[in-house]
Amino acid sequence: MENWSLVSICVLFGLTARWAVSLNSYSGAGKPPMFGDYEAQRHWQEVTYNLPVHEWYFNTTDNNLNYWGLDYPPLTAYHSLLCAHLINPDWVELHASRGHESYGHKLFMRATVLVADLLIYIPAVVLYSFYLSEGSNKKKVFLCILLYPGLILIDYGHFQYNSISLGLALWGVVVLGLGWDVLGSLAFVLSLNYKQMELYHSLPFFCYLLGKCFKQGLAGRGLFLLVKIAVTVLVTFALCWLPFLSDPGQILQVVHRLFPVGRGLFEDKVANTWCSLNVLIKIKTILSTDTQLYFSLTTTLLAILPSSIKLLMKPTLWQFKLALVNSSLAFFLFSFQVHEKSILLPALPVCLLLNDLPLPAIWFLQASTFSMLPLFLKDGLLVPYVVTSLAFLFFSIYLLSAFEHCSEDKLRLGPYRRLLICIVRRYGYLSNCINKDHFYFSITAMAGLSFMSVALAPPDQLPDLFPLLVSVFSYLHFLGLLLYFNIVQIAEPLQSVRKNQKKSN
């Protein structure tokens, strides 16, 4: 069958799954007074539609920042404004529309997500799968990336617009992979200006581009490239922030809103180091907020340093993808004020590794979906969570024949073995950890924990028992895989022998 029809069929299937999920409930449905993220997005439309730009980020009589105040960068605000212009004015009436919920409104909100996805994320995935992934199973990789349940459930169930920020970042990766460095940095800056969490990805972008400049020679063409990129970044930033540039107070206020350091090391249960460590040591009470901030900053920097340096020295697409995983995962695990949904940021580059490292990637993606289980349960998304997870697991393992790619060489651990063979011969066999049995064991445990979270009532003295177990269990996966991805990235020899996995341009 022709390529285009298969691609269209995959896209249609992905869209069907997305819309089917969106028929379910959303976060905070019918839960006054605060509702949830759905209401937050609606409220931003209300604020941006009715108030002048300079009031958007300030606490005024018409803009109560304690009630879902705008805390995303300007592009999100513009997007809300655009959406608000398309709809029934009653839905965004100042004050009066607060907590508005209706069949038509839900339909509209869901449709905006679908449109954004269709315009930004899906084309990027198409381009990535067909131009930057190798081998015969491009279509299969494409379908698997489209079916990643975490993103579908958060965007179409819980309700957010991650497909925009992640899609723009993916556009950045794709365009950089195709060799257009300026356009790539443009796309990434846009993504950063849509959601500040994209900072998790920023260091690899920076190192990749800088490394490329170094490679071309900082005295000659490299410098020119560097200047071009720097100008692009600055101009794009300036354009995005244009309405706020007139007054430094505005800029400071927006920045203050974007990085709310006062909210503590972590909220709720999140599968990162601090929350898991909190089980043993109550860090939140022992350390002051400032110490927590510096502490987390230091650990994050330490965790991302090796992969960034390696990328700087060897700016290839393969290294870039791995560095994106390593950096965003390190941020997720160690940085300050992390939300459980931020796992989608590492999940995006892991999706890009589905073709090269199927089993670890599938494992990670499944664990990431699982780590958001408490959130899904709160939003009433149990059925779509179960169905999409099972479907993703089944299809990705079947289509990518994941278990046939478990040898040490396929897991790209050969160089690591050679590196360590004389030092720690006994512990060097990391590939032994990533195999079919362990995978099934972990999946079974996830299924068991999911079942317990749904069916059993927690003991009275430990009301958060199951969410905590889910978090810690996922955290162990993330930590192990962070180690693995770092090893794969760092152990790759600097002088590349294998050309097949590098840039295709």
């Binding site: 069958m1 022709e2 029809s5 298969l6 269209s8 069929i9 249609l12 299937f13 869209l15 069907t16 799954a17 819309w19 089917a20 999920v21 028929l23 379910n24 069949y103 038509g104 839900k106 339909l107 449709a111 679908l114 059925v383 779509p384 169905v387 999409t388 099972l390 479907a391 089944f394 299809f395 079947y398």
Partner: protein
């Protein structure tokens, strides 16, 4: 004596396993029933599981009143004695399926009580707790296993003429995808809510049994075991849902001709002396025993008239609220057009015309103003005339494929001319026709016309805004797949420009009816126009496919006969 022995042995039948073993050695050239190696079937569970996941994800989608209908039946069969099943009328949705289906609901209700006991209370009208929804939806998805199995059996019985190395271009794969991912079945069963999946599963299984017979003609002993199995399955099906009576004539004639007469003359006509009373008795006893099992208790209780009055409510009108795209839709339209024209030309008096709200939303009689009214007996005569062509398999039986073609004509004929036909009945023609479509180029063309229009005519079933994207996406998915895969299978375009234009017109109709018209001022004054346009436009396509199918049946295909020999 020896003859009788052979007969008896054939009636007793030999297990199907032996047949599969035997066939490879019997045929090694020509139309080998190429059952692929077992390891080639790994794609089948993937295809089946994929669609099952899709069904599961639709659990929370909109469901129609049929959901409440089946919940009510669960409650009736669970909480009332058998004698009251067909008398109970607390809910307006009384039990109007044959007894075997009632027993099916009865057995489901035993599982249902572990989900939510409240749904089994007759007085709990329109009861839709999350557990009830989950249970009912899952019951449809799980019973679809019958359908999945039947599809696999159908795939096994497909002739493979063009050996394609590419899995996606393989007839088995295409047939499995066309059946498992059938758009109509998905939206009717898993959104609208009905149990067609497992019923069609039984039908396809029965068809597959007849098709498989074809290949074992020379294995004289095992030939008939499958016929009887097929007949048994169909009888069970009839006792589950009596709408399948539409295609019963095809079964009757085929079994009588090809099973009860064991030999043909050299010109293909029937050899009367070869009539086998044993076989007729075997067939008859199957039909009667299943019927007795199903209706027996009610006959014993003297409730047969009551049951029958529930099964055949003739008080309904010629057309359903939404006109199924058949001849009567065109007839009504012509009548309406004539009356409007008559009023314009001052030939008619407006006051004398009957006040008929066309597709108002209620099941009601539609009074024709110019053309003569249609009575049930007229539709019956028309239907019978339209399926007379089946007698051609009496004169020249063209094997099981001829039978399958007759079955489709029969289903489509009753759809075209029947009394109070539902649009969903089109599936009865589309699903069996899929098997023919992957075998012949001409059939593939007709199939594309019929499925695309037939499926589009199901759109009004889902009228809620939230399900609009789902139905459009699924329709596009299925249509795109059927076009590209069949085109690839037969290496070339299957439709002529006129047909293509007509099908593209469906896009225009959809945009007009669901996007443009609701925004126009006529939406409030003439709300029925989109339904009317849809059904009239689709009825053109369905009628066209019917005529082409009819012609293809009449035309003497040498191919089938040739292959049969």
């Amino acid at each position: 004596m020896c003859y009788l022995y052979v007969e008896l042995q054939s009636v007793i039948s030999i297990p199907p396993r032996l047949i599969h073993r035997g066939q490879a050695s019997v045929y090694d050239t020509g139309c080998v029933m190429a059952t692929p190696r077992a390891d080639d079937w790994s794609w089948f569970p993937a295809l089946a599981l994929g669609v099952s996941f899709l069904k599961c994800i639709l659990i929370n989608a909109y469901h129609s009143t049929d959901f409440e209908v089946h919940r009510n039946w669960l409650a009736i069969t669970h909480s009332l004695p058998v004698s009251k099943w067909y008398h109970e009328n607390t809910s307006e949705w009384t039990l109007d399926y044959p007894p075997l289906f009632a027993w099916f609901e009865y057995s489901l209700s035993h599982v249902a009580q572990h989900f939510d006991k409240e749904m089994l209370v007759v007085q709990n009208l329109i009861y839709t707790s999350p557990a009830t929804i989950l249970f009912q939806r899952l019951s449809v998805i799980v019973t679809d296993i019958v359908f999945i199995y039947a599809v696999k059996e159908c795939c096994r019985s497909v002739r493979e003429e063009k050996g394609s190395k590419d899995l996606l271009g393989h007839p088995f794969f295409i047939l499995a995808a066309l059946l498992l991912w059938n758009f109509g079945l998905l939206i009717v069963d898993h959104i609208h809510f009905q149990y067609n999946g497992f019923l069609f599963g039984i039908l396809l299984l029965s068809v597959a049994r007849h098709l498989q017979v074809l290949y074992f003609m020379t294995l004289f002993l095992v030939e008939q075991g499958r016929h009887l199995e097929g007949a048994l399955l169909f009888t069970v099906l009839l006792n589950l849902k009596h709408i399948y009576l539409y295609i019963a004539p095809a079964y009757g004639i085929f079994l009588l001709r090809s099973y009860c007469f064991t030999k043909d003359n050299t010109d293909g006509s029937v050899r009367w002396s070869s009539f086998s009373p044993v076989r007729l008795v075997a067939l008859g006893s199957i039909v009667i025993s299943v019927g007795a099992l199903s209706f027996g208790p009610f006959i014993a209780m003297g409730q047969l008239p009551q049951v029958l009055s529930r099964l055949f409510p003739f008080k309904r009108g010629l057309c359903h609220a939404y006109w199924a795209p058949n001849v009567w839709a065109l007839y009504n339209m012509v009548d309406k057009a004539l009356s409007v024209l008559g009023v314009r030309l001052k030939l008619l008096d407006v006051a004398k015309l009957p006040k008929a709200s066309m597709t108002g939303g209620l099941v009601q009689e539609f009074q024709h103003s110019i053309l003569p009214s249609v009575s049930p007996s007229i539709t019956l005569i028309c239907t019978l005339l339209s399926i007379m062509v089946m007698l051609s398999i009496w004169c020249r039986p063209r094997g099981a494929r001829g039978f399958l073609r007759c079955l489709v004509v029969c289903a489509l004929g009753s759809f075209m001319f029947g009394w109070h036909v539902h649009e969903k009945a089109i599936l009865m023609a589309i699903l069996p026709f899929s098997i023919l479509a992957v075998e012949s180029r001409e059939d593939a063309g007709i199939f594309l016309m019929l499925t695309t229009t037939g499926h589009y005519s199901l759109f009004p079933l889902l009228f809620t805004a939230a399900e609009l994207p789902i139905k459009v996406l699924l329709m596009l998915l299925f249509t795109l797949y059927s076009f590209t895969s069949l085109k690839k299978l037969f290496r070339g375009s299957l439709l002529n420009p006129l047909e293509t234009t007509y099908l593209l017109g469906l896009v225009a109709v959809e945009i007009l009816c669901e996007v443009v018209y609701p925004l126009s001022p006529w939406q409030h004054t003439l709300p029925f126009v989109p339904l009317l346009v849809t059904s009239v436009y689709c009825s053109l396509g369905v009628s066209y496919s019917f005529i082409r199918l009819y012609v293809s049946l009449l035309r003497q295909h040498g191919t089938d006969k040739h292959k049969q020999l």
